[in-house]
């Protein structure tokens, strides 16, 4: 069984974000990088499937600059067999259509039986790439998966809907699923696997070989939301807090009038 998992490297969300000079993306200075959270669920599920089905081969694919190889190493340490890095210093400028088409271009002649992606990225959050890639490859795609089973070539997945409702969806492989929080607990790589990962095949491809389409959309501006009147945090002993609160209510509202 051939499995593909697509991951993205994103900044740690605790980082201090600054808008880049051209105001179409964030400044990459002083950021710590890690694997997109939803992609961790995708990798974990792919590794579980790889273990479940004998003679499987799991490829991890990532698009981005040189530094994404660090994140790919983690996926390899978690249990992926080989890595494919599409080296692109400007991946952050590519729209979801271009990213999806690169994935599809890579995957089209590899006859993957299953493709896993995260539901969305933590930085751009378009939630389009996985589904578009599935469409381009003419595969059935199931999004927002929180439970996944594979048996006799058949995928059965639970999807998370609004309001806590779940939907059970099934399809035949080959298929693509996008993974949501709650699907699994990603494993912590063991030391032997970290060491093995260093020696695993990591193929680098150039964007030019895979990017055959033009962008369809453009990010014209990114910005922090305008500050509304901020919240007020009162600190101190309970008695003093009550006094302060009364004072504020008296001064700023009419509720005590």
């Amino acid at each position: 069984m051939k499995i593909l998992v697509c991951i993205k490297q994103v900044p740690d969300m605790e980082s201090k974000f600054k808008i880049a000079d051209d105001a179409t993306w964030y400044d990459s200075k002083d950021l710590a990088w890690r694997m997109n959270e939803y992609d961790e669920y995708a990798v974990e599920q792919a590794v579980q499937l790889r273990t479940q089905v004998e003679d499987s081969d799991l490829t991890v694919l990532c698009i981005g600059p040189q530094r994404v190889q660090e994140t790919m190493k983690k996926a390899l340490a978690m249990g992926c067999d080989r890595g494919v890095h599409i080296d692109d210093d400007n991946s952050f400028q590519k729209d979801p259509f271009e990213i999806a088409s690169m994935i599809a271009e890579f995957a089209k002649d590899k006859s993957f039986d299953m493709i896993f992606t995260g539901m969305q990225s933590q930085d751009r959050g378009s939630a389009q790439v996985g589904l578009m890639a599935g469409e381009m490859l003419s595969l059935p795609s199931i999004s927002t998966v929180v439970d996944f089973t594979f048996e006799d070539g058949k995928v059965t997945a639970k999807r998370e809907l609004e309001g806590g409702i779940k939907a059970k969806v099934s399809c035949s492989a080959p298929a693509l699923v996008t993974c949501q929080l709650g699907l699994n607990t990603p494993r912590y790589p063991t030391l032997p696997n970290i060491m093995k990962a260093k020696r695993k095949e990591l193929l680098t491809l150039s964007v030019a070989d895979l990017l055959k389409v033009d962008s369809t959309q453009e990010t014209t501006k990114i910005y922090f939301p305008e500050k509304r009147s901020g919240g007020l945090v009162l600190e101190g002993a309970a008695g003093d807090l009550a006094d302060k609160l009364i004072q504020i209510l008296k001064e700023n509202t009419g509720v005590l009038a």
Binding site: S15, L31, A32, Y188, T190, L191, I194, M195
Partner: protein
């Protein structure tokens, strides 16, 4: 009258005595050696460990611990009783040796007798009193074990055999002496030099010489057989501690205190890391299990055990021993119980008090290493998250690394990247860098240094976690990654002196980093400030206040720093009311051993228990010297619901108010 006695009186010194006696001795010693040979085979299952180097240090340390019973006697009561019993029994052993030497060697071969005159009198009275002391102490220990029985003291067949044999040997010895004296010494002044024997002699005085001689002869042979039984029993009962514990003093860890062995993670041959089976431990680890006498001192002091968690350091050592001797194929983690292994705070209370020099903590960390490095397991998901946070942002709190130096804005200090010409590098640590409460420690320390005219630099966003919590939690790989990065960075700036305000950072930089070719001096802030105070560079306006002081495990037991912090507090006007458990007996705050990253879900809360001990002193302030402790006490004060009676503070906060 000559001041001596006839050796082998009544039993005779002919071949009918000597042949059976020495044959029996030979057999007994052979059985003893045979018993230990089997045990040595078990020890040798373990990996090598360099514990026979530096004999010039090891041998005196062993002699002190054995002959002066210095470790045993640290606990008054039973410890002192054991020490005195040992002293008595040891003197009797020496006395018996002297008899053998004279009767069967010097006298037999050269006609030389030395047990005579004043030396004999001394010999006689000393041995009599030694025997009495041994009997009284043994009686005391018997009462403690079987009548009073403190909680946790478990007794088995071994203990019964040991008490029985020892009593029988000691009493029969006095009966022999009494019977002999009743015939040969009663009424002479010589008898006064055997005061205990005299009591026995007077008790037997009514019998005929014939009866006394029969009693003497019979008891003599019984006594001999009992001693032979004792010798044979040594390797097969807890008596083995006579040898194993004594030798364990020789093989003891001679420091630096508590320093873990660094794993060679690049070892291509290694199939496994950490300890999962008995062969993953060292021979010393297995030997340790044989040196344990189940005195339960470790268990009495273990913060996990005292808060109803499933860890007893004693039981853990015994479980490992059981695996080594009876079930060598068994998994160590299963034998010791995962929850027990994760419960340890590496506070070292067990190891510090252990009268057998057993090393508990490294075994626990070795098993954790196996769980983390080979299985990817942690005590909880929150710990895994903290590990991942550290991988990404260099701190377990998960805060963006770039803001690590933000606390120092407006304090007038620079990072080494901006200006490497400094008097000291302040290695801030994660909690004092990011945690709002603990930033006050960092700020106070900077102000104190500035007041003393010291130019301080920090690493700012380049600093990473020292790796201590990760290492103690078993993640040697992450620790070594962090250590290598910090070492390279610090060495690159040509730093001359490092000061830390976190004892965990201090211990790690000062001991663990030495494995990374790192030789820059590292000082803890309490020692550093104390030096500034002594040299007159730092001046404090003393203002009286009452407080109690908590010795953090990593400043106290791990580094023996008890006085500098107290001197600082006293210089600031502090009237320290000590808690019952202080200095080397201090009770952990719960955050060591990487537990700062873990939820405390089992048993009751360690920090609350410690806070309650502080409250019991009546002092309004609990002063500590560690960001982990401060974090735990802030929480514990709320948990114990004593916010109106006790506030938790760091030494630096007290000092900075008195500039």
């Amino acid at each position: 009258m000559e001041l001596t006695r006839e050796i082998y009186w009544n039993v005779g010194h002919g071949l009918t005595t000597l042949v059976p006696m020495y044959l029996l001795t030979l057999v007994a010693v052979a059985l003893l050696l045979h018993g230990f040979r089997a045990r040595v085979k078990v020890y040798r299952q373990g990996k090598t460990a360099p514990r026979t180097d530096q004999l010039a240090v090891r041998i005196p340390a062993m002699l002190k611990s054995v002959l002066l019973q210095s470790k045993v006697a640290r606990v008054k009561g039973p410890g002192l009783a054991h020490a005195l019993f040992f002293g008595g029994f040891f003197l009797l052993f020496l006395g018996t040796c002297l008899i053998v030497v004279q009767a069967d060697f010097t006298d037999l071969l050269f006609g030389v007798k030395f047990l005579k005159g004043n030396f004999y009198l001394l010999f006689s009275v000393v041995l009599d009193i030694a025997g009495l002391v041994a009997i009284v102490m043994l009686g005391g220990l018997l009462v403690r074990r079987y009548l009073v029985r403190p909680a946790g003291l478990e007794s088995g067949a071994d203990d019964l055999i040991m008490h029985g044999l020892l009593f029988a040997i000691l009493i029969s010895g006095f009966v022999i002496e009494g019977a002999r004296m009743a015939v040969t010494e009663l009424g002479t002044s010589l008898a006064l030099w055997s005061p205990v024997g005299l009591v026995f002699a007077k008790g037997l005085a009514g019998y005929s010489e014939e009866t006394l001689r029969a009693v003497h002869s019979y008891t003599w042979w019984c006594h001999l057989l009992l001693v032979m039984a004792f010798i044979v029993a040594i390797p097969f009962t807890k008596f083995k501690h006579i040898f194993t514990t004594s030798l364990n003093y020789l093989f003891a860890d001679i420091g630096p205190t508590g320093k873990l062995v660094s794993l060679d993670l690049e070892d291509e041959e290694a199939e496994s890391f950490g300890a999962s089976t008995i062969t993953d431990l060292t021979w010393k680890d297995i030997f340790d299990t044989d040196a344990c006498t189940q005195c339960k001192r470790c268990q009495d002091r273990c913060p996990a055990h005292n808060t109803e968690k499933p860890l007893s350091p004693m039981k853990l050592i015994n479980q490992l021993g059981d695996v080594a001797f009876n079930n060598p194929e068994a998994g160590l983690v299963e034998a010791c119980d995962k929850d027990a292994i994760w419960s340890c705070t590496t506070c070292r209370a067990c190891q510090d008090i252990c009268p057998a020099a057993i090393e508990h903590v490294n075994k626990i960390v070795d098993m954790r290493r196996n769980l983390v490095l080979m299985e990817g397991e942690f005590p909880g998901e929150e710990v895994m998250v903290a590990m991942e946070n550290t991988e990404v942002n260099g701190n377990p709190l998960g805060i963006g690394y770039a803001s690590r130096g933000d606390w120092a804005e407006n304090l007038g200090i620079k990072t080494l990247a901006e200006d490497p010409q400094v008097d000291i590098l302040y290695f801030v640590g994660c909690y004092a860098s990011f945690d709002k409460r603990n930033i006050k420690i960092a700020t106070a320390f900077i102000k104190l240094c500035q007041a003393a005219g010291i130019k301080v630099g920090i690493l700012g966003k380049e600093e990473k976690c020292c790796g201590e919590p990760m290492r103690k939690m078993g993640n040697e790989y992450l620790y070594q990654t962090l250590a290598a990065e910090n070492v390279e960075l610090i060495k690159g700036y040509g730093v001359k002196q490092i000061v830390t305000s976190c004892p965990h950072c201090f211990n790690t930089l000062n001991k663990d980093y030495r494995d990374f070719d790192f030789d820059i001096p590292v000082t803890n802030y309490s020692v550093y400030l104390q030096q500034l105070l002594q040299s007159g560079q730092l001046k404090l306006n003393s203002a009286e206040f009452a407080c109690t002081y908590h010795d953090s495990c990593y400043l106290g037991r791990h580094n023996d720093l008890y006085d500098a912090p107290r001197q600082l507090l006293e210089a600031a006007g502090g009237q320290i009311v000590e808690m019952n458990k202080s200095r080397s007996e201090a009770f952990c705050c719960s955050a060591g051993g990487g537990r700062i990253m873990a939820e405390e879900s089992l048993g009751s809360r360690i920090n609350v228990k410690r806070v309650e001990m502080a409250v019991a002193t009546g002092a309004p302030t609990l002063v500590s010297n560690c960001p982990f402790c401060l974090t735990m006490f802030e929480d514990g004060v709320k948990g114990a619901d004593v916010e109106d009676r006790l506030s938790a503070r760091d030494i630096s906060e007290i000092l900075v108010e008195r500039l």
